[in-house]
């Protein structure tokens, strides 16, 4: 059994973190005493236990650590895809804990952008439609949503692929499309779970550069889970989660 920990104070960068600077003055993400476990009884596994975390507005935070340590769990909790067993989360000053499923869905649609390692795009839709999907879910008209999506596809270098379906795109193109989708509608927080996990080194480098560029140009707050230490080192700060023996 392992527990999720970082440095003595998870809210602060540990000794291995390269960048201690906090670019913004306001806190975009605040997690206090965050706890999450899976299973029950003797098989219960506590993945996160008492994690405190602040992410400043405009900061790019990398979350690294071995498999099973709780990186993705942390991301899912911050992305309102799951509820913690204990502790609290504030996003942009709002306590999200009492929110209903509808309110959480609305917040995800308007303020969060996700990039996942798998299931980047919906297979029945063109790339432009995939990128426009958050806007369509938000109730925007299809024509204007797709037009907005096309602008983002230009920014990620996929303008020529707008009418292609996912199975006509390479893995790198699919992930760039997923980044475009994550940024459509101008979310405030970008959450990426192993966005380069399925890509070769060159494509991973290109994708990370793209994310970094968009992060800066759009004034985003970003939390990126990765196994890639080199890429993590290029973020503003690195949060290292470590496994430890229970007890």
């Amino acid at each position: 059994m392992s527990e999720a920990t970082s440095s003595p104070n998870a809210a602060l960068p540990n000794a291995q973190e390269r960048n201690n600077a906090v670019p913004g003055t306001s806190v975009a993400v605040r997690a206090v005493a965050l706890a999450k476990g899976y299973g029950g009884g003797d098989r219960r596994v506590e993945v996160l236990r008492g994690l405190d975390l602040d992410v400043a507005a405009g900061e790019m935070l990398a979350v690294v650590g071995p498999s099973g340590v709780g990186k993705s769990t942390l991301l899912h909790l911050l992305g309102l895809l799951d509820r913690p067993d204990g502790g609290s989360i504030e996003l942009f000053g709002e306590n999200v804990m009492p929110w209903t499923a509808e309110e959480r869905a609305r917040f995800r649609n308007r303020s969060l952008g996700f990039v996942f390692q798998f299931h980047a795009l919906l297979p029945e839709f063109t790339l432009a439609e995939n990128v426009a999907m958050p806007l369509l879910i938000g109730g925007q008209r299809r024509s204007s949503a797709v037009a907005e999506a096309r602008e983002l596809l230009v920014a990620v270098g996929l303008a020529a692929r707008a009418e292609h379906f996912p199975d006509q795109l390479s893995g790198g193109e699919q992930q760039r499309g997923a980044v475009a989708r994550a940024l459509v509608g101008s979310p405030r927080l970008l959450l990426a779970d192993e966005p380069t996990g399925n890509l070769d080194a060159a494509n991973a480098e290109a994708l990370f550069e793209l994310v970094q560029t968009l992060h800066l140009s759009r004034g985003l707050t970003s939390v990126i889970v990765t196994h890639n230490e080199a890429l993590a080192g290029r973020c503003d700060r690195v949060l290292r989660l470590t496994g430890a023996a229970d007890g």
């Binding site: 509808e102 995800r108 798998f118 919906l122 029945e124 299809r142």
Partner: protein, 379 residues
């Protein structure tokens, strides 16, 4: 177009070689359409036969009967004349009946004798004609239980009569009857006033209203038996037959709806990763439920509408073209009759829609309740 319409449309179209979703949707659609068509055609067939039976009842039967509430004879007075005067279009026939024996040649059969005051000739029904082997122009002898004193002692009163016409029998009528004008049949029945009055409207379709028309024109002590009450057992049997067969055939739609449920559950399982991604992007659970409900109801409703239209068209064409002949002399009609009614079509549509709705509820709820992370982890 909302995102739900867009999603449903793409799933049903089966783009990008994902034709199995479109295929199972087409199977569900076809099953619902076939069920609805079967129900409409069956109800049209039943209605066709039953309308034929009702029309024959209206054409050959009595439309209303006046009979004494107690006692053997109707009350006296001039109310019957007043009734005839007030309703000149109605055929009003006062009857006095008696059990008699009818004889012709070597044949003899018990029968009911009806003395009718408005009749001008002797008439027999087809049952009596068949039993005695007689027809219009033949003669028969009626032997009445009214005794006549003869030199040999009391003997049944006998009278030889010429048959003027043979009447058709109504559905289920199997008794032999002879109708004799009152003047001609005097002495064949025990003296007394008429026992019943039969009423007929000039047009068969008016049969159902005759009782209500005359209800206020009869004195106390006289019951008015309507056309519906006269034929209540048969009409109730027809209605029960229609209901039971209708329910039986409607089960085809229920089976089709179960197929729809299975296919929706499969679709929800197949698309669980996509649905989880959509939920992560902000599609609320309520709209996930709406998506699958819409898919189910859409397939069911479309199948129901097209099946109903198809079934109605087939039944209409079969009736119009007399495509299914029946042996002459065995049935009262020469071809299998179909009668498409708005109520049958509305019933098929309603059963399709309700079945599709109920079948969609479970998979839609399951899809909406599914954990997002579980879906994102699913491959």
């Amino acid at each position: 177009m909302s995102v739900l319409h867009l999603l449903a449309g793409r799933y049903l179209l089966g783009l990008r070689r994902r034709t199995h979703v479109a295929a199972v949707s087409a199977i569900s659609f076809g099953a619902m359409a076939l069920g609805a068509a079967a129900l409409v055609i069956t109800l049209a067939l039943l209605e066709g036969f039953q309308a034929t039976i009702r029309a024959q009842l209206e054409r050959t039967g009595v439309h209303a009967v006046l009979r004494p509430r107690s006692g053997r004879s109707l009350p006296g007075g001039d109310w019957l004349a007043a009734l005839r005067k007030k309703h000149p279009d109605l055929q009003v026939r006062a009857l006095t009946s008696s059990a008699v024996w009818c004889l012709a040649g070597d044949a003899a059969t018990p029968a009911t004798l009806e003395l009718a005051d408005t009749l001008s000739r002797v008439e027999v029904n087809r049952v009596l004609a068949a039993r005695l082997g007689i027809g219009s122009g033949s003669s028969l002898t009626v032997a009445s239980p009214v005794l006549a004193l003869t030199p040999l002692g009391p003997m049944p009163t006998r009278r030889r009569l010429a048959v003027g016409a043979v009447r058709d029998v109504g559905p289920g009528e199997d008794g032999a009857t002879v109708w004799v004008p009152s003047g001609l049949g005097a002495g064949l029945v025990i003296a007394g006033g008429p026992q019943t009055v039969e009423l007929r409207a000039p047009a068969p379709e008016q049969a159902w209203d005759v009782a209500s028309r005359v209800h206020s024109d009869v004195p106390d002590g006289v019951d008015v038996v309507s056309f519906r009450d006269l034929n209540r057992p048969l009409l109730a049997a027809l209605q029960l037959e229609r209901a039971m067969i209708g329910v039986g055939v409607a089960l085809v739609i229920v089976v089709a709806a179960l197929n729809l449920l299975c296919n929706l559950a499969l679709l929800a399982a197949e698309k669980r990763a996509d649905v989880a991604l959509l939920a992560a992007l902000g599609l609320p659970p309520e709209r996930v439920r709406s998506l699958f409900l819409g898919l189910g109801i859409g397939v069911g409703a479309l199948g129901g509408v097209l099946g109903t239209a198809f079934g109605g068209s087939v039944a209409y064409l079969l009736d119009r073209t007399h495509a299914l002949p029946l042996p002459r002399g065995v049935f009262v009609v020469a071809h299998v009759p179909f009668r498409v009614t708005a109520s049958a079509m509305a019933l098929a549509l309603a059963v399709s829609l309700i079945s599709a709705l109920l079948a969609s509820l479970v998979p839609a709820r399951a899809a909406a309740r599914r954990d997002i992370l579980e879906g994102l982890r699913y491959e």
